[in-house]
Amino acid sequence: MSAYSKTPGPLLDVAVLLGRSLRHSARSVDATISAIVLPLLILCVFVFVFGGAIDRGGEYLTYVVPGVIVLCAAFGTASTAVAVNQDMTTGVIDRLRSLPVVGSAVLAGHVVASVVRNVVSTAVVVAVAVALGFRPVASLPDWLAVLGLLVLFMAGVSALSAAFGLLVSSAEAAGGLSFVLLFLPYVSSGFVPPETMPAVLRGFAAHQPMTPLIESVRALLLGTPVGSSAWLTVAWWGGFGVLGAVAAGLLFRRRAR
């Protein structure tokens, strides 16, 4: 019997590196706590602190949950930048580059692990929202569509984060991306309707790439017409995903030290 596995190399590489990343997540208690607790805190702040003051002519909880889901997914997946950067600064990337492992497998391992982590924390957010009184009317295909769009979004942000993590020189700089992604959803339709914003922000909020995602998730969960927002989401985040993957792939091989 051969000592070598019959599984095609790249698939095996992704599976092994995914296992590694998930072990990292499971063992870093603080990261896991913040991945679960932070989204819940954000949800509670919007529902109980701001919720009373923001009058939407309906239940604010219902309006804000899709925004919080996307906010948490954006913040959570941005941590990919830190994980990739740590691999680079600690020499793990150099070691992997000296192995018969294809570069895209290293990247894919990080991206898939990030998606898995964030699907879990999104599930927690949804469960708590439901406990607080959020009542989605989505059918099973709607839920699957929501999941599909969110996974695409998470993969897109993760790929961009991975490229960013390879580009910057320290984990601190890589961590900065999380804050950009933490604030970006606020200027969208996630928390307040763009019509209420000043003209300068209104255009950006109505058209930035997170808005169609938030609109799609909201429409699918609440049973309103999705319109073109789902396709816009696929175009934006599929595009960002490809961009991030290509950039990260090039940076992975080119990176001199």
Binding site: R20, S98, P100
Partner: protein, 300 residues
Amino acid sequence: MAYTIEVEGLRKSFGDRPVLAGIELQVAPGTVAALLGPNGAGKTTTVKILSTLLRPDAGRVVVAGVDVVGAPAEVRRRISLTGQHATVDEVLTGRENLVMMGRLRHLTKAVARERAQALLERFDLVEAADRRVSTYSGGMARRLDIALGLVDDPVVLFLDEPTTGLDPRSRRDVWDTVAELAASGVTVLLTTQYLEEADRLADTISVLADGRIAAAGTADQLKALIGGETVELVLPDEAALAAASALLVGGRVDGLSLHVRTDGTAAGVREVLEVVAGVPVLRVAVHRPTLDDVFLQVTA
């Protein structure tokens, strides 16, 4: 004879800063070669090119019979690189690190586990096998690091400064490990800034300075380059130094010390001392040439 590592005219610049200005290197199968040089001499750059991490600007580099530019993927299957800093995964256990590395070299799960166990035993890490690497001492982490390179029987093992930052005891452990590896037939290229280390471990030594091989050969050949033993006479002042230098023509002056060649016998040393009998000498020492002397001479 076919060399396991053959490097001819290797050049590399970063921007307009030349780092390697034409390196020549041959390493015979199953031997340990040392690249010796100060920080910034180009040791790590050389290892990175030989292990396919960097592309050379010019020159021919053949490792384990394969051209590193023409078929890097083939080279990666035959080599193993242990970098300058321990690149073990601190969050995983020692065993998990080894199994992961085996899987990344596409071994089956069963074989990867078997090899991991064998390496844990060989590197004296059985007790710590299922502890996270973050709890390991520097020496243990470095041993694991080297073990990770051996999961799939590489033809060539690159060790970039394997003992930098280790305490003396751990350093000795790593030396023993490298000596064992050499005995098992793997070809090793290691870089070091410690002359003692190169002297102890390597069959051949190449001294790298300013991007060139300043000298190469066995430790004995290199020592022979600068001649035999010397007697060092330490004198109290300039006047005594001048007097001693006048009596012992051809000696080398270094501060208030005078170094004179000798054959190392008692008679030889006595002869030197008799010549300077009238000069006050503070201290006398006999030096065997060390690689430090070689190093200082060829890089001067």
